[in-house]
């Protein structure tokens, strides 16, 4: 008799079940980066991961991307095992460092995932044009990365992540290196792009206002070992714009997330003491 696993809801973009990640197990450098983490992201959701440095946000994102294999537990993306989802290129990825290939023009950078997916040359050119329009850089396709500002580079990186129509976008502090003005501008653009393309997003950030402004849900994590301590529904409505940032409800949510973060650090300390 085979044990049948629970029926997987196909509408779930991401399902992390009891995932743990231990680095360098069995050596003095052992790090329990994640301990028994459960996370569900419904299709179409925008979910942010926030928490103190070293709490395992990037690690969790890498598990979803199948750049790392969990030491325990299970990760599913679009109802498939994470490894299969990666092979099917079910997600696009963007990092804090834009990670543009410096020997390729902006257009060629956007084109790379399509090239690797074996798209026809004409289709590729068409798609690159669309993506450049989407990120509002229609004339910069022939520029080399160093000829673009930090914000423009990041837009090209987002265009590249979205080029092959992935249903899921994984972002690790993509606006972390940008100045405040550019950052807020890019946040609004990201929301528009995701609404237009119906993309599910998992977004790692250090900024509470950024998490609140962008997300349907904010997942609060804490360190030692990394785990999820709280999940806050933001409920600011579907259409958000610069006015949203002025609203009382916005500030209310910021306070809520801040308190959840503080609380998670307190329990983190408390547990640290208990464990000894």
């Amino acid at each position: 008799m085979t044990e049948t696993s629970e029926p997987i809801d196909v509408t779930r973009a991401v399902e992390v079940i009891g995932a743990s990640m231990v680095f360098n197990d069995g050596t003095p450098a052992r790090v329990a980066a994640l301990n028994d983490v459960d996370l569900v992201v419904e299709t179409g959701d925008f979910v942010s991961l926030i928490g103190p440095s070293g709490c395992g946000k990037s690690t969790l994102l890498r598990l979803i991307a199948n750049l790392l294999d969990p030491t325990a537990g299970d990760v599913r993306v679009n109802g498939k095992p994470a490894a299969q989802a990666r092979l099917d290129q079910d997600y696009g990825m963007a990092f804090q460092k834009s990670g543009l290939f410096e020997w390729r023009t902006a257009a060629k950078n956007i084109e790379l995932p399509l090239e690797l997916k074996g798209w026809d040359k004409r289709l590729r050119a068409e798609r690159v044009g669309e993506m450049l329009d989407l990120v509002k850089l229609p004339d910069r396709g022939s520029n080399m990365p160093w000829e673009l500002s930090g914000g423009q580079q990041q837009r090209i990186a987002i265009a590249r992540a979205l080029a092959s129509h992935p249903p899921l976008l994984l972002m690790d502090e993509p606006f972390g290196a940008l100045d405040e003005m550019t950052r807020e501008h890019m946040q609004s653009e990201l929301l528009q792009i995701c609404a237009a393309t119906h993309t599910t997003v998992v977004f790692v950030t250090h900024s509470i206002p950024e998490a609140v402004y962008l997300s349907d849900r904010v997942v609060v994590m804490s360190a030692g070992p990394g785990r999820i301590t709280d999940t806050i529904d933001v409920e600011l409505g579907g259409t958000r714009n610069e006015d949203t940032r002025e609203k009382d409800a916005f500030y209310g949510k910021i306070t809520e997330v801040r308190e959840a973060l503080r609380g998670s650090e307190m329990t983190g300390e408390a547990r640290g003491i208990e464990d000894r």
């Binding site: 991307a65 990666r86 460092k97 990670g99 290939f101 790379l112 690797l116 000829e147």
Partner: protein, 255 residues
Amino acid sequence: MTASGVVKRVGSPLLFGVAFLGVWELIVMAFDIAPFTLPAPSAIWSAFIERFDQVLEETLVTGKNALIGFLLGIVFGVLMSLLTVRFVGVESLLTPLAVAVNAIPIVVIVPILNNMLFGTTSQVPRRLMVMLIVFFVVFINVSKGLRQVSATHLELMRSYAATPWEILLKVRAPNAVGYLFTAMRIAAPLAVITAFVAEYFGGVQSGLATGVRNSLNGSKDVTWAYVIGASVLGLTFYLVSSGLERLHGGKQNSG
């Protein structure tokens, strides 16, 4: 670079060179030094003009050896580094081998090759020596370029489900191009020096070093005329290769 920049960069060394030659000439005149010991620059120059055809011929022989060895060394160095980075097993085999071979003062292999394999009528041993020297410089630098790729780039390629060959062609190889140009700049003067030194170890009676050696018994102005040929050859190799590197670097970083 601006025109005045060029004048500054080229002007001062040129001025220094002229002054140096002037002092040299004066010292030879003032102390009446015999041309057998140290010829004056003017004497060297007239010997150079007088024997221009001969000097040119020997320069071309040495230059051809250096160039052929240089190009072969680049081809084999690039191929070998591509192979080792693709098949990690080959690397663990080859790197110790490369270190071991590199530790042999390889110009001493020339007489062995001369006697055993090619006889004394062949330029091949000299070219092989140049090739070996250039090979190591290229192999070590290009391997570094193929390996030192950004972790973000590798993660991106993994997220695109790229195969090892695709990663090699689209990330590692482009990343190593700059390293190849650097290796060429380092290896070019070495190629000339090796081609020159290899002639000292016997073989065919042609080339710049042979010219130097055969003229040592007579008046030294002829010897120095060959030295002029050697300097011009080395400088040409260096200028061309560093020019190529600069051209490539300029394409990457300007704007």
